[in-house]
Symmetry: C3
């Protein structure tokens, strides 16, 4: 239905001659593969309930900071990852859990059409045989998008997502914080949990960190619920590492008592995620 | 043990010469495949806790209406679907959850023997190496079996159970009611959920409805917990569509603001189910 | 790291010349396959939270009795099942749930190194790339290990673990106790649950009991939560039969109103478990 109209409009610009009521909308319609949109939603849901999507000729851009100001997720999807983009651009605040529900009937390469309806400040979602009219949220009521600080880092490495997740979850067995310790001499990262009675450490060496640059011994301590979810804290969020599967290569940066930044790509390298967790100041 | 005696008795009537105490019972013994009985129980459990089974030479017949009088399930299994039936017929009220438990150790083609014990108003269940003595419930204390109304319908179609379930569950994302709308001109059924802020519709056309007769545009609105279970209402029942798998062809009938009836067959077309959900009168 | 040092020390005794601080410890280090240690932990966790492990040149020995004094588990692992044992022996009280967590990253043949640190009364656990420093519990604060009574039994049989578990779980459908009844004449064991209204029995005959010695008709009644877990009682323990898989051959002994003892082997017949449940005196 509207989906194919929209595609035509984007494709050849002839829609203006069609004289339908959707005409003005076509420049505010994009088509994206279901699995790409799903990854965006899954990653954002680890840290916020609502976010402002900026979608249009330039692709998609969303940045969100959690209510406690500890975690941040920034997602960019280049226009080349879209099946089709309009000539316009629209910002819309969306409830992520609802959006997750509404696209749950689509998967893989299924095209999902998103059309902005400025008069109702809503978005029309179409996929498979499903059509949804979803109300937007006034962007003014959503927490401002964060500035992403530039940080010099002394430690940088790549690691498979599941290897890092396993190491971090080990720490969760004894504590609700995890300490990353770079050991320059050993070219190893120690991921340590320090509990009241017990202590657990997982050592990631050259085998686990294929590209590592360790400029200094550095320690950073981070909240586990933000990384792997709320088993010890009651957080309703899943932890930023949770949507990631084995096979996803992460790039991780941190410095002494500074935020940790975690980067990865998806959608054939056309989607980019940057996540940041503030350090917990150590008091022992 | 008793199971094989019972089968012999049914098979050749020689049991009368055996002079055992089970002799008088043999005419009140039936043998049914586990998977057939399981389907009966699973379907009834979607709407009631207890039901009156009528079992005997004519097969099995159970009808049940839910406590709120909104949903109804009627199950018939022809005698040909039984491994063996006696010459008698017995009615017995049974707790469905317990019956489900007691047959859980049997599966597939396992024969399940049901023998009525009139003196204790109980039923003996035998399968595999398990024997159960299960108390019946006085049929007088169970809600009367419903009359099934004859209803002229203006819309009739067949649809795969999973296709209908998916469409109905989409509506559940925004509402606790679903609206079926027949569109004669498009030969399509729109399954619509109308929420406070959002609206979702799934369009089933010729591909999804292989046999459709649409005599008029009609709308019927139905309660979602009765169809797919209680995520939004706290119902303890599963929803009448829940026991059905992809591959089960449903026949659906409804008319403007009238009940919807859903039919399907099982047990090699020897088992028949009719389910009915009363409409919710629309007030918008 | 320390793991390989420890192995060397055990292997050839050269560690004394290394002059390191771990030197004195080496005789208190053992290496065991992950799956063997996991089985020990899983079986003990069915009955207690904490237990005193005795580990060393003689292998491993743990005995535990549940807080209510109804169930008992005794586990022995011969030194031959270890990859390496020291020349010393150490007793240490351990929290079983934590130990279960700490070895969860290892599996199958992964070697797990356990080193006793007498000065801190702690144990160091090493496997894969994980190192844990786990505090011990003062053995004096842990319930005394039970004496295992010698009992003459009149019934003895072998049975596959899943066959016995299924029979016992059937009884759980109607009661929170199960009765074992040996029938000498039939060479069968009846596993019976007797509920308020319903009764269920599972008959295990020669097919299910390959080696059976029935010296007398005997009945023993046992608490179901201790056997298969707490669905009817709120017990936090899993039931002693729960960690056992199909294919594990159990040897079972009981007598009229006496405890039931259940034995099985694991770790290529080098691990031995004896479990005992006290009888419930029948009062009907």
């Amino acid at each position: 239905m509207a989906a194919s109209d929209a595609e035509d409009a984007v494709g050849d610009g002839d829609a203006a001659t069609a004289g339908t009521e959707t005409e003005a909308m076509d420049s505010l319609t994009v088509v994206i593969r279901a699995e790409v949109l799903q990854q965006v939603v899954d990653q954002l849901l680890t840290i916020v309930d609502e976010a402002i999507f900026r979608i249009g000729y330039d692709g998609l851009s969303v940045a969100a900071v959690d209510p406690a100001n500890v975690g941040m997720v920034d997602v960019e999807v280049e226009s080349g990852a879209f099946e089709s983009v309009g000539e316009g651009m629209f910002p819309i605040g969306l409830n992520l859990q609802k959006l997750d529900d509404y696209i749950s009937g689509s998967s893989g390469d299924d095209p999902v059409t998103l059309s902005y309806r400025p008069e109702t400040r809503s978005i029309e979602i179409e996929h498979t045989n499903v059509e949804v009219e979803m109300s937007g949220i006034d962007p003014k009521t959503i927490r401002d998008e964060p500035d992403i600080p530039e940080i010099d880092h002394s430690v940088e490495f790549t690691v498979d997502a599941s290897v890092l997740t396993d190491a971090v979850e080990n720490a969760e067995l004894v504590s609700d914080h995890v300490k990353f310790e770079s050991m320059v001499d050993d070219e190893a990262l120690v991921v340590r949990g320090h509990g009241d009675t017990d202590e657990i450490q997982t050592v990631l060496g050259a085998d686990e960190l294929p590209n590592a640059t360790f400029d200094a011994d550095a320690e950073g301590m981070y909240s586990l619920p933000y990384l792997v979810g709320g088993s010890t804290s009651g957080s309703k969020y899943a932890g930023i590492l949770k949507p990631l599967n084995s096979g996803t290569e992460l790039r991780v940066e941190f410095s002494e008592e500074m935020p940790v930044k975690i980067y990865y790509d998806f959608a054939d390298e056309l989607g980019h995620v940057m996540m940041m967790i503030a350090p917990r100041i150590q008091n022992r």
